[in-house]
């Protein structure tokens, strides 16, 4: 009986302790990260990537390409 109860107490002490330690560290790490991000990687720079529309895994974007090709070919003819 005593044994089980003390196990429970230990679990509570270490569990809550660990949760607080972990989340406290996370508070600090997040703060540092946010400060670094706002200093070295301000918003506009961050928005620059992610331009290209994504094809599927190793897939073909041939539909788009076809469209592009058709349009460009049309433009090409028109200019002649």
């Amino acid at each position: 009986m005593d044994n089980l109860f003390s196990e429970g107490l230990t679990l509570m002490a270490f569990g809550m302790g660990f949760v607080f330690v972990f989340l406290t560290l996370l508070v600090f790490a997040t703060g540092i990260m946010s400060r670094l991000a706002s200093r070295y990687l301000p918003e506009p720079a961050a928005k620059a990537p992610k331009a290209r529309p994504q094809p599927a895994a190793a897939g073909t974007a041939s539909n788009n390409d076809e469209l592009v090709a058709v349009i460009t070919a049309a433009v090409h003819k028109y200019r002649k």
Partner: protein, 433 residues
Amino acid sequence: MEKLLELWQASGIYNISFGQLTMMIIGLVLLFLAIRKNFEPLLLVPIGFGGILANIPEAGLAMSAVENAIHFAKPEVLQNLAHVLGVSGTDVHELAHVYHNSNASTHAAAALVAQDAGYSNGMLYNFYTIAIASGAAPLLIFMGVGAMTDFGPLLANPKTLFLGAAAQFGIFATVLGAVALSAFGIMDFSIQDAAAIGIIGGADGPTAIYVASMLAPHLLGAIAVAAYSYMALVPLIQPPIMRALTTEAERKISMSQLRHVSKVEKIMFPILLLILVALLLPDAAPLLGMFCFGNLMRECGVVDRLSDTAQNALINIVTIFLGLSVGSKLSADKFLDLQTLGILVLGIVAFGIGTACGVLMGKLMNKMQGGNAINPLIGSAGVSAVPMAARVSNKLGLEANPQNFLLMHAMGPNVAGVIGSAVAAGVMIKFVG
């Protein structure tokens, strides 16, 4: 005529036990709560339906091939099983008992015997093995939840993580309650059982199922039902506690608008969290790893088709199988037990203590910051139950002050609570797993 008798003796009416009937009614009640009362229907509809299926007499949908072979008790099959299990007689109860306590190689050998005799695993048993026993389904749901979670409010005010930490006290207080019940001889919970019951207080379905499947699979049905039911009851459970612990003045506190959070911060947060988990608590790595992966897919902006699938087709498919699999654990012999009553009582205590600790931590933080910065009502959202608990905070705030919009402020502790209970889960798996 003989065939007619056979058909009648194989029918459900002839074979149904009182326990199975009761469990089928419980399944119907769960469906009623889910459909008419909107109790977390996405989980409780499959769980309730699975519970009914699992208790259909003679169908053996939730039983393994060996259990089915023992149930139908053909003499020559029982003899072969007795031989493999190392039992002298062919008493079915003894065979079942020895089977459940035998090691993995004996299990495998018994399964081959049952298969040779033409028995196969029930459909729900297969679903449970693949979805839950492997740990896959809760982890994939957690990935999907990660892909749906916006950490913006948390990043705008990281201190709300403390509220998410405080609310986890409900988990551990309940563990203590469960061992106390055992210590005083009222119930008979092992420390593993106690830990699995405590996690109900985490107010996080997939975390509860993951922990229960590892620490106390025999209680999984009751724990999952309790977790989802209480999450649905958050709007009833939390308000009285929140009102009792706060003053009218505190509830009126209006919080300043959250700062804008940049895309880079949102991308880096799941990576930061993953690294902290990796360095400090590897046992939480599966849960929080998949959560962070889902969130990174959401925020990184270059894999939107994967993120969409994780939030829709994949999470829906996994939810169907997870729900039916949980339902397979609603068998009469495991659910109709005093322990289930204990689990239900302890679960609601866990929710209450978690709520109270979140609110008290909110009061403390408010005091430390001058008494007018943090509305303690957002503390209760630290139990998670995303986004219900945050909505409850918002509602009580509006009651006290119609201009007081707490929703976004409460989303911070709300998602912090998800992280907090996953960390608590990791600690418990580490110590008693």
